[in-house]
């Protein structure tokens, strides 16, 4: 066998391990599919999710209704597809708000320390002691059910989770000599915090945001399930688990089961993704 002699090329950078990461690829594609589902729901759904056909209730899978119908005779597949919209929008809003606020507070705390850090950390401790679900219920009691009240309440109770993790890392970065070098160079504090510290805590931030997304989704689904969040007949997975309950006893578990399955798939995808991102970071040589 003749072997082709490849020219020897000296690597200019350390050889990076760029093997295909299947967990990363599969979880991101599941998430991408879910997002596509939510965005293009009107194009993808075969039916109007709110069209009730009393003559075709609790049907099994058929050509007309691929996943069957619910107890009002609505097409389940369409409801699941439309349900992705609010079911994903809620946690996404929570995570975006909590990440923005938590990161800003964390970096300011790490940079300035002193009373600002002490106050922020104590407030975070107090919020930790307060269960997010109870807090959300309280908000619903005050402002009425819907998506907004629980989202705002959960954003507040998720902020300390992001803040605590980011603050610890930002504090570590802040005490590294490269930050001192930036300071001596005369860079503005704002520039040091955003261009250097934020950039170096970003990987950790992504991990924490991905992991929190799963928890936020479960919390919001629980709120909806309890009838405190999005109200029926709006399609939303938590609501569907709840409204499908009565049909379970009648021997038609498909609505609750499928909606629950969507929740599980989404949460598992986000958790695996977060977990994978975390392990990859440990693999990367620091500094």
């Amino acid at each position: 066998m003749a072997r082709v002699e490849a020219p020897l090329v000296a690597p200019t950078e350390a050889p990076s391990r760029r093997r295909l990461d299947w967990v990363l690829v599969s979880t991101s594609s599941v998430i991408a599919l879910l997002v596509i589902m939510a965005v293009f729901a009107p194009l993808l759904a075969p039916d109007d999710p709110n069209y009730a056909n009393i003559l075709a209730t609790n049907q099994g899978p058929s050509a007309a209704h691929l996943l069957g119908t619910d107890s009002f005779g609505r097409d389940l597949l369409s409801r699941l597809i439309y349900g992705a919209r609010l079911s994903l929008l809620g946690p996404a809003l929570i995570i975006v708000i909590a990440t923005l606020v938590g990161t800003a507070l964390a970096i300011l705390s790490a940079w300035y320390g002193g009373w600002f850090d002490r106050v922020a950390s104590r407030v975070a401790d107090i919020l930790f002691a307060f269960p997010g679900l109870i807090f959300a219920m309280l908000a619903v009691a005050m402002f009425g059910p819907g998506l907004l009240a629980p989202v705002v309440a959960l954003s507040i109770s998720y902020t300390p989770y992001l803040m605590r993790v980011v603050r610890a890392e930002a504090l570590r970065q802040r005490n590294l000599p490269y930050v001192a070098a930036c300071y001596v160079e005369g860079l503005r504090v704002r520039t040091i915090c955003t261009r250097h510290i934020l950039r170096n805590v970003m990987p950790l931030l992504l991990v924490q945001a991905a992991l929190s997304f799963g928890y936020a989704l479960v919390d919001l689904a629980a709120i909806s399930y309890l009838g405190l969040g999005v109200q029926p007949p709006t399609p939303e997975w938590g609501v569907m688990v709840s409204t499908g309950q009565s049909a379970i006893l009648a021997g038609h578990p498909q609505e609750s089961l499928l909606a629950g399955l969507m929740i599980v798939v989404t949460v598992v995808a986000f958790n695996l993704l977060g977990d994978r991102l975390a392990t990859r970071q440990k693999g990367v040589v620091r500094a």
């Binding site: 350390a14 000599p177 490269y178 001596v184 005369g186 504090v189 250097h196 950039r199 170096n200 500094a287």
Partner: protein
């Protein structure tokens, strides 16, 4: 005040308030913790730097020598503005530097006078910023130059510190310790400072690379006329690079003078001990050290 010196330090003092040690039976975690009385009892003063004075003439280099904990790094951090002196004055090119509050514009002005090179090149560079990004950031900050002019200057700086232009795009993790320290030196030079502080700048490098970096620093002095403040514990390095030396112990200056005379004829007992602690004053960097490293 001082006309003939670029950097002048007089009566510099730094006192830290530190928490009492663990041996101290303080009421940790008790309700008294935030109480002013409790705090006063649990804090004590630690004098890190006590009445230190020296001056550096333009183009000269001064070494500050001492064992760890002698306060030499604290002196460097005060000169560069990372710590505030408790007392005493620092002048850089005739201007006082020891003000309490510093605006960011003032910090930017001072950055063009004094720069520092840290000991550990593995943590003194932003791991997510390329060599070019790092140097360009400093140039953008201090000079009102266009992109081409800055790129040219980056290339010039890389040449000056003996780095390949191809390395401009690499991240610190792709560079060796010696190369990283060269980047740190280039970054310090970017703002064209009059004084360069080297805080144990070669202590964490391989001995063979130490010699190259020391030669590089010496070449830079010849080319730019920059003054050096060397913070070091290594008397062999000090002998090589400095004109004058200040020996510090427990925050105080115990001996000062021209390097040659202090090291050959020490008058202070501590200096004698330091000198005796070297097994053999053997290693000496040669001018013909090979330029390739890593």
């Amino acid at each position: 005040m001082p006309e003939d010196s670029i950097l002048e330090v007089r009566g510099l003092r730094k006192v830290y308030r530190v928490r009492a040690s663990r041996a101290d039976p303080g009421p940790a975690g008790s309700a008294l913790l935030g109480h002013p009385l409790a705090r006063r009892q649990r804090a004590r003063a630690l004098v890190a730097v006590d009445d230190v004075s020296f001056s550096v003439a333009p183009g000269q280099s001064l070494a500050v020598v001492g064992e760890s904990g002698s306060g030499k790094t604290t002196v460097a951090r005060m000169v560069v503005g990372l710590e505030r002196p408790t007392g005493g004055t620092i002048w850089v090119s005739g201007q006082e530097r020891s003000w309490r509050h510093v605006t960011s514009r003032e910090r930017r002005r001072r950055a063009r006078e004094v720069q520092i090179i840290f000991q550990d090149p593995y943590s003194s560079l932003d791991p997510r910023m390329s060599v070019r990004g790092c140097l360009d950031e400093s140039l953008r900050l201090h000079f009102d130059w266009g992109r081409e002019r800055r790129d040219a200057r980056v290339a010039e700086l890389l040449d000056q510190v003996g780095l390949d232009r191809r390395q401009a795009e690499s991240l610190p993790r792709a560079l060796s310790g010696g190369q990283r320290q060269r980047v740190a030196i280039a970054r310090a030079l970017a703002s064209e400072p009059r004084v360069l502080i080297c805080d144990e700048a070669v202590a964490s490098l391989d001995v063979s690379i130490q010699a190259q970096v020391l030669n590089l620093l010496s070449d830079i002095r010849d080319a730019t006329g920059v003054s050096y403040l060397f913070i070091s514990h290594d008397l062999a390095v000090v002998r090589q690079v400095s004109d004058n030396v200040v020996i510090m112990r427990r925050g105080r200056v115990v001996e000062a003078g021209p390097t040659a005379s202090v090291l050959s004829d020490p008058s202070n007992g501590y200096t004698k001990q330091l000198l005796a602690a070297i097994p053999r004053p053997g290693w000496k960097p040669t001018r013909s050290a090979s330029p390739d490293e890593s």
